[in-house]
Symmetry: C2
Subunit: 258 residues, 2 copies
Amino acid sequence: VTGKVYLVGAGPGGIDLLTVKAARLIGQADVLLYDALVTPDIVELAQSARKICVGKRGGRASTDQAFINRLLVASARDGSVVVRLKGGDPMIFGRAQEEIEACRAANIEVEVVAGVTAASAAAAQLGISLTQRGIARSLAFVTPTHGLGTLDDDSWADGLIATQSIAIYMGKGQSTRVRHVLLARGFGDAMPVVLVYDVGRDKAGHIAGTLANLGELVNLPTNGPIMILVGEVFKGIAAADAKTILSRATAAPKRRAL
Amino acid sequence: VTGKVYLVGAGPGGIDLLTVKAARLIGQADVLLYDALVTPDIVELAQSARKICVGKRGGRASTDQAFINRLLVASARDGSVVVRLKGGDPMIFGRAQEEIEACRAANIEVEVVAGVTAASAAAAQLGISLTQRGIARSLAFVTPTHGLGTLDDDSWADGLIATQSIAIYMGKGQSTRVRHVLLARGFGDAMPVVLVYDVGRDKAGHIAGTLANLGELVNLPTNGPIMILVGEVFKGIAAADAKTILSRATAAPKRRAL
């Protein structure tokens, strides 16, 4: 009997934002391969599975993609139900295609289960629609990092000036570059920006400002993933936070504004 | 006791793509307000709720937004747990902001629960990543319809030519216009296009082609929602479908190509 591979979106973090199907499949898995960003409470749902962390984190060494592909195929050939858990949605910056193709090439059945992408959860956390009527009827998801982590071009920002709301994935440690590239593409200093951190997790939070001070917004109380949101829909929250930042800076002038 | 309003994403359809939190909240709801696109199996999860369909469908009369706002506030004031279910994700073309603001203005606690957006589920159905490495590092969600259903400008297409993958929401009945606008913005005739219908539902399917024949792809076997996907990542599926369409057209020349 040949098994099957499920590429499953784990959502941004926490069991609550798993889909019903994802939760069921994780519970049924014989083998669970998961990224480093998948939260431990989700991994623990796989009570009877062999659990293998194949995850990558920005800057750290990651498991070779070819190795992951071989592991998926070999596990399914053994007859196992294989769940490959990816943070967020597999089809949005989830590097799913390589694994889908590897399974298909080996005649292993593969099914993708969509998940909640981080931008949706970040917007929910803020209580701000990404496509607020009268302000935004287009929304772009981009990443300044290539799949291979290189930064050899800034084509991700092409055409963005015409888009009303922008969610920047995998932008951690790249605030200065993002600011530089967006300003060079015609965005104004006053464009509202929000850094949302630990989306869907216990310590979730955000800090808002404008493109002008994006470089100063990066001292976040987290080692987790961040999402950079840009657009006029964030104007209200950016203005509210600017007051908070100003009062903090005044109260404790030696500390850098958070 | 004042109640609380939850704006909850129902995902694209079917209980399986609800989040765990959405399923729980629906089961606990005293009052459930839902859009017409939310599938009946999901509505039935609200066993003890008063259920009110406030939904709109393209072309049909819809419940006035101000009435929905008043109903949300009045129900929560009664002490009820109010679940406002929206198809997909509330923050992506879900008109959430008006309802959030109405609750805040009335001092009613409001929480948004993210859902799986239709583009994610459509990509999962096709088995094609929207951000396939080496082909697409930017993804745009746009709609050719304004919130009010008017078509007074085509600014939704500004800058899109620089975006590698595009998901067009609420494009039903607008294929001809979409084709016209994209061609006018510099897209080529050969750009792959996929119409995905009934995403997340039993009768889900798709038909693929190119921008040149988008106008001929619209005879879909459904009255449900559709998603128009555009981009080079769909090249393989478009080529495969073109052969199928061609052979069908040859076999039954009197019928229009499906």
